[in-house]
Amino acid sequence: MTRRPPGWLLVSGLVVAALAVLPAVYLGVRAAEADADAWALLWRDKTWGLLWRTLGLAVAVTVCAALVALPLAWLTTRTDLPGRRGWTVLLCVPLAVPTFVSGYVLLATFGTGGVLEEPLSRWGLPVPSVYGFPGALLALTVSTYPYLFLALRAGLLSQDPAWLEGARSLGMSPARAFWKVTAPLLRPAFVSGALLVGLYVLSDFGAVALLQYDAFSRAIYVQYEGAYDRTYAALLGLALVVVTAVVLVLEVRLRGRAGYHRSAKGAARVFTPVSLGKWRLPALLLCGAVVAVGVVLPVGVLVYWGVRGLVGESASMMAPALGSVLASVLGAVASVLGALPLAFLAVRYPGRLTLAMERVSYVGYALPPIVLALSLVFLGVRALPFLYGTLVMLVLAYLVRFLPQAVGTVRSALLQLNPHLAEAAASLGQSPATVFRRVTAPLLRPGLLAGAALVFLTAMKELPATLLLAPIGFETLATRVWGATAEGRFAEAALPALVLMAISALGVGLLVSQEGDAPRG
């Protein structure tokens, strides 16, 4: 028995992993109350239909997101595209747009009487239907492609130019070299980004409900909303956990075994940018189109709502803005701290147990947030009554929900960190704590910050858990927006939604600024 992780690391990892599986445990407890009727309901044809529809949507969104993200990632890292930095930031902003905004935007654009109706009817064209599969596909692709975009960018930035040069010297054309060398080497990055996209689709309720696509998460909500049936909802939820588990196992298989370390020592060389030439304009148009749909459209609609509503009362945004920032920052810090032991164990002490611990961190992410919130209610009132109703519960909810985003970034940062550095520090007589403080943490800093920024962004727009677990009277921008849209008062929703997006854009900036500063050793 060798390569045993130190006890404290294993214990802290196990605590985080236990928190992460809590929603599944909760579902198990509730599902155990199921009678034959409920089980019979689960095995109906309709459940299988739901399953295929959900998986179909997840796969389609992942494919579309990849089709959008790959060219954008390549354009912003490897070419002489003008304004690469600016495009990168703008292309990440859709992450900051809550689905309850983007869904409405889509309806306001494509719906009957929407923005597109008049111009299209002038040409005698019908407005394309936005309901059902196409709408859900579009909405989810726009809101999730940045996960893949960021992952692929990181992958492209970390590749050693020598690999591509090697391919070119073997007589490959640039295009062939890309598909034979660059693309296969991107596989780990692609798979980790695709996992975030696909599992997000499994959990998403906002878009599928608004656009009337019958998916698993919607069926789960129906049980809570319509029937107050926690048992059957739990059965459906467990089915989703099983699907997630299958996806997670498949991902390990797909991840591949290629090493990540750069082979070169010394100064990292930079790619010579590909000159776009006559392709410059089409490339700019592509970036512009994606930004138009993902950023300009929602901001425009919000501004339009806001201008209409300026006549009405305008409540102060200070309290909900501070609430959002406080909760999201704490959530981001907690997620990164929670991700550290899991990522360390998985990378430095690979084994069945540590791999399983890293994998289970995705469970909470793939479940509809209402299930997650209820599981924390379940834990809170039973085990942590002194924390129930405090901000700590909400931060724990964010931790369980967004952990995989942090685990992913911390994990890839660790993979790029030469393990000899920590060993060298230890052989120089430094304690593990000092080694972490003086060597590992400073070198991981870009990865940790990027993970925190990603969690911050998504926590800013989190709603169901915030409503149920925040201290009573604690307001965030998201709850403000919800309070207004639930009653159809879009004008009042505009200002908090814009403030939310503006603050989130700061997170995007931080995220992008940490890129490419990944440690080399």
Binding site: Y224, G226, M318, P471, G483
Partner: protein, 327 residues
């Protein structure tokens, strides 16, 4: 502002230690609607109120999960079904008779576990540019006619719709309910997330008629007075004329029973009832309070003779909805 925020946090931590505890309300009704009313309650009684706002069903699920350890004293729900579910789970305690008696027996729990605070009628909302009232059927059952193909909208996940289907089952039997659902389904209705979305779609002209609660129209007209949508009330006594309630119940295990009872009583005072009537266009349930002018009276709507407490047989309804492929 930061100080206020920290204070809120501190309060939430320390609240259990404080002597004069405020009343904790879980409200499935929106802050815009209920906020001013709660303020009045505090002004009047000096009892501080802390509110957790959320969606009624999610709050109900939370209350069921919290069990007797819930910090909530009062549940202010959007519909009777949620209250029924909590009552059935033994989570509600009996209200004082004086409070219950203020409201018609049809609009409260027969076991006295909850009481309606305001009424909401099921209506057919229609696009006034595309449909004339004369074209609309007298009974909700008439919408199975093929001429409505592609013109209808509904929100089958919505609790108030499901309450209506339950009423339909109780009044006409499961077979008739199944036939109706299948008939409407054959007309390929558009499915919306909630009532507000149906009214919004009517305004855009996406559909011609939709099954909703009566007051969404007035809320929508507040932000857009020219919305080309109107309400149509089917004949009195028809299942489609069901009047459901938003109501209130006191949680089992509340340590503020007295304040909670005061709160329930407050909602039924003339002032509050008038507020519902004037601000949210809902039906006041206490005699002597005027209905909003735009609305037909409760008596005229003619809610079918039905015990609302039976509307909590939702499992059967959801099963029916799922068997017919509506859900």
């Amino acid at each position: 502002m930061m100080r206020k925020l920290l204070l809120t946090l501190l309060l939430s931590v320390a609240s259990t230690a404080l002597a004069a505890e405020p009343l904790t309300v879980y409200s499935g009704r929106n802050e815009k609607l209920v906020g001013p009313l709660l303020k009045k309650f505090t002004e009047k009684t000096g009892i501080e109120v802390k509110v957790r706002y959320g969606e009624t069903p999610q709050l109900a699920a939370t209350l069921l999960e919290e069990g007797d350890k819930t910090p909530a004293d009062v549940f202010f729900a959007q519909d009777a079904g949620a209250l029924g579910a909590l009552g059935n789970a033994g989570r509600l305690q009996a209200l004082p008779k004086a409070t219950l008696d203020k409201v018609d027996a049809r609009f409260r729990s027969p076991m006295g576990l909850w009481v309606g605070a305001s009424g909401r009628a099921r209506v057919v909302a229609y696009n006034a540019k595309k449909v004339k009232p004369a074209d609309l059927p007298k009974s909700i059952l008439g919408f199975t006619d093929a001429k409505w193909k592609g013109r209808l909208g509904w929100a089958p996940t919505n609790a108030s719709f499901q309450a209506f289907v339950t009423a339909l089952r109780l009044l006409k039997g499961d077979e008739a309910a199944t036939a109706w659902l299948k008939g409407v389904q054959a007309n390929e209705p558009r499915v919306y997330k909630n009532n507000a979305a149906v009214v919004e779609a009517l305004g855009r002209g996406e559909i011609d008629a939709g099954f909703v609660n009566h007051y969404y129209l007035y809320a929508a007209k507040k932000s857009n007075a020219e919305l080309p949508v109107a309400n149509y009330f089917v004949a009195a006594g028809d299942p489609g004329a069901l009047v459901n309630v938003a109501g209130v119940g006191i949680l089992q295990g509340s340590k503020q029973v007295e304040s909670a009872q005061k709160f329930a009583a407050f909602l039924l005072e003339a002032e509050s009832q008038t507020y519902f009537s004037q601000e949210t266009y809902e039906y006041p349930l206490v005699k002597g309070v005027k209905t909003a002018e735009a609305l037909p009276t409760l008596a005229k709507v003619g809610s079918p003779d039905l015990d609302l407490s039976k509307l909590d047989d939702l499992r059967g309804t959801v099963k029916l909805l799922q068997d017919t492929g509506v859900l």
